[in-house]
Symmetry: C3
Subunit: 344 residues, 3 copies
């Protein structure tokens, strides 16, 4: 790993250097584990207490936090340290080149169309009629069922399953173990048993979408399940049949969304949230971690708790709940004063 001077770091990030420009780093690490050849970052107030003891050669820090960092600490002041990381890390840690090639053990059935510079890993299976765009990179042990489409420069990690007819846009990232287009969970009670309703809809993922490890996105029952452009989905998430996710939505780990629910553009859904079916979470809404959403959420609002309601109300109710045992004693005292002759 080559060294970079702080001058180079400030040039790459567009930041302002304060300290010895000849200081050289060759990696980035958290404040408490960084060594003298590493750069670190101050990501928030919480981390200021680590700055004094850090062995890091220098830090990335925002202008407002920079004032609270001791003067002796070399630094590159940037508008947003996380944005700076997106610029810096690809330079300090260049990804190994993947030679575009199809592993000899890959199984490509008839009618498969490959773009230019496609890489396909060992033991991957691409069934008949699937199309992979230019610069697509498919890992090992991936199953691409018949009639799928994968857009250019999309990366699919090992052990992913695309069910038949799944369509993925360009520049997407699908992490290991994700299952796209699996049958939804729909049954009708007939003749004394639950009978499966055939799931004949599709699963459509637009451009620039990220899908987490072991996440499952069901195909539509009739009509499609859709994920809008730029939406990012974390690990172990469940998206039910016929859900429609808008653009630039964030879905944190272990969220479950029941069938036919719409999540509008820019909404942020916290970890382990559950959302019932057939509702709409409005554009830009924020749903707090572990909330249980059982009705529509207004655009731009912030909700939490179970059942989910405006976050401030939920917090107030939660705080009041803690005081409830004491409240009961107070009410007992009042009753004894007001109804002195009453047997409790």
């Amino acid at each position: 790993m080559p060294f970079f001077s702080l001058t180079q770091v400030s040039r790459i990030t567009g930041g302002q250097l304060s300290g010895d420009p000849e200081i050289r780093v060759r990696g980035v690490a958290p404040l408490d584990t960084a060594g003298p050849e590493e750069l670190s970052l101050v990501a928030g107030h919480r981390y200021l207490s680590y700055v004094h003891a850090t062995k890091a050669a220098a830090v990335l820090v925002s202008e407002s936090l920079s004032r609270e960092v001791p003067g002796a600490v070399a630094r590159v002041v940037v508008p947003d340290p996380h944005v700076a990381l997106t610029q810096l890390l690809p330079v300090l840690y260049p990804e190994p080149k993947v030679e575009p090639s199809v592993h000899p053990t890959a199984v490509l059935e008839g009618g498969v169309v490959l773009g230019n510079r496609v890489a396909i890993g060992a033991y991957t299976v691409v069934e008949e009629g699937s199309h992979l765009g230019d610069d697509v990179r498919i890992g090992a042990h991936v199953m691409i069922s018949r009639g799928c489409e994968v857009g250019s420069a999309t990366v699919i990690h090992p052990h992913v399953t695309l069910y038949p007819g799944v369509r993925i846009g360009a520049r997407c990232l699908v992490r290991s173990g994700a299952r796209l287009g699996s049958d939804g969970f729909g049954h009708a009670w007939m003749d004394g048993q639950h009978r499966k309703i055939p799931q004949v809809g599709g699963c459509v993922i637009e451009d620039d979408v990220e899908i987490g490890a072991n996440t499952t996105i069901d195909r539509g029952s009739i009509g499609d399940t859709t994920v809008g452009r730029g939406t990012k989905i974390d690990n172990l998430v469940q998206i039910g049949h016929n859900c429609r996710l808008g653009r630039h939505v964030i879905i944190v780990s272990q969220v479950g969304i029941s069938g036919s629910t719409t999540i509008d553009d820019g909404a942020v859904i916290g970890g382990q949230v559950g959302i019932v079916g057939h509702i709409t979470v409005g554009a830009g809404a924020k749903v707090g971690a572990q909330a249980g959403v059982i009705g529509d959420v207004a655009p731009g609002s912030t909700v939490s708790g179970y059942p989910a309601r405006p976050h401030k109300e939920a917090m107030r109710a939660s705080a009041a709940l803690q005081r409830l045992p004491g409240l009961m004693e107070r009410i007992g005292r009042i009753e004894r004063a007001v109804f002195p002759n009453k047997t409790p």
Copy 2:
């Protein structure tokens, strides 16, 4: 995809046609996305508002809802539109024929017994002594460990793992990434560390069971984990060791059931529910989404919340909680009136 007339639709579903019998459809889609060559359905009151604007050629609708659908809309009136879908979709969307064959890359170890017309996908491994019944269809990349049994006409999707000795009945469906018969989570504290208790029980799945993508069902520690006939399990569910699930149980996505718990026939467990170990959820009980069940649930009852309790109580308590901050102010006013000389 061929066309079907409404006359054919009404014959297939046993429904009553109202409108031009010559109208032809070749697919089914939701009201808001259906085109003029597609049939749709009115699945509940919530969807009535979409009927006016739909471009669908006709709708499936129940008798009671049909009265609220404008007279101009062609329709087939059926007792239950979802039941009608189970009849109609296999005709409109016939599944592609899978030729029964064993892919040349599949590894079949010694002593494997295959029934008639078995299909096995690329790179699937079937270890020694496993038995697959007639018409079994196994996808690609499946691992069937030694000594498993798979009943006739059962379908196993890609990337499923059956651990040693798992027994699956007939006509089951196991979706991609499910892990059946994995070691349960059992330890004893010995010599300053958690030591694994060997998990030597089995995992037995009866007929007509459906298991969701990336769901995990642990084998018994001693004795078996069992799933009864006709039970349907959604994606990302965890079933602990020695659980006993009855018949026709519904388990929605992301449910977790701890070890040695019994779920009796016909119970319905909502999404993200957690159930502690060593208890019983009675026959026909309903557990609301996200509930935390920490004790036995009576047969036929409906519970919700954490800790789970009768649903009506939980709703009433939840509503009261919202009024709690206001209640506190009222109590303050009372106290000032009743104890005027008391310092607050």
Copy 3:
């Protein structure tokens, strides 16, 4: 399966025999399903009611519970029946010998180093530069990406993915479908979209760790995600980037831990718990199932509920909540008495 006399059972477990020493067993089963050739155990008071009807040949039982078991029941009295199982089950159910061999279909890239007696299953891929220690056993369809290290005697089940550079210690067990070292979920908002922050840290698993089926452990963004020696993680758990788990921690199924959180030695995290990022759960702390932890947890404390707080407080508040509707009626009565002229 050979038979063992109760004399042998008591010798293996170091227990005290009470009953006919010639009784022979050849398996262990729960009280209610055990047959006359099987041993069972009384694992707690809850199971005493099953002892009268059991057909088991004998039981393992602790000294304190033994007094409540009818005298006619043959038994081996041990300090802890679960510890006894760890001694007894490997003898009664010996694991089939796995001949150390590399399956001819396994793909081993250049620079892979294998220790002695390594077993590698069918279709497993080991990328360049990975090192596997002595007695390592890798199942079928496993993906070990470039530059990984797997310590001696570690067992990896089918369909596991190790992302590049993952380091696993000795004697670990990784169950099917686990994803170790996947990219963490980190984005910066730039140019009107969420842009992925490269995840360049590592994923380090120490000795004697157990990782459940379909669990995901993300690599660090910068710096490492670490799991300490002897820690046991159940199925379908999510561990975010840069988490630091201490030693001998227990993480039950479906827990989600957000990025940069520390779980100290010996903590026990119940099923479906959610823990926010950037906090510390102290050594030996216990977090009740389904809790939502939004701040530091003191060492040795027990917390539950959402937001998580000391368990006794949470239980008291929860109990009070149930009485709240009745409380409201009492307050109404008081108000009518204290403010008789006020319109409600």
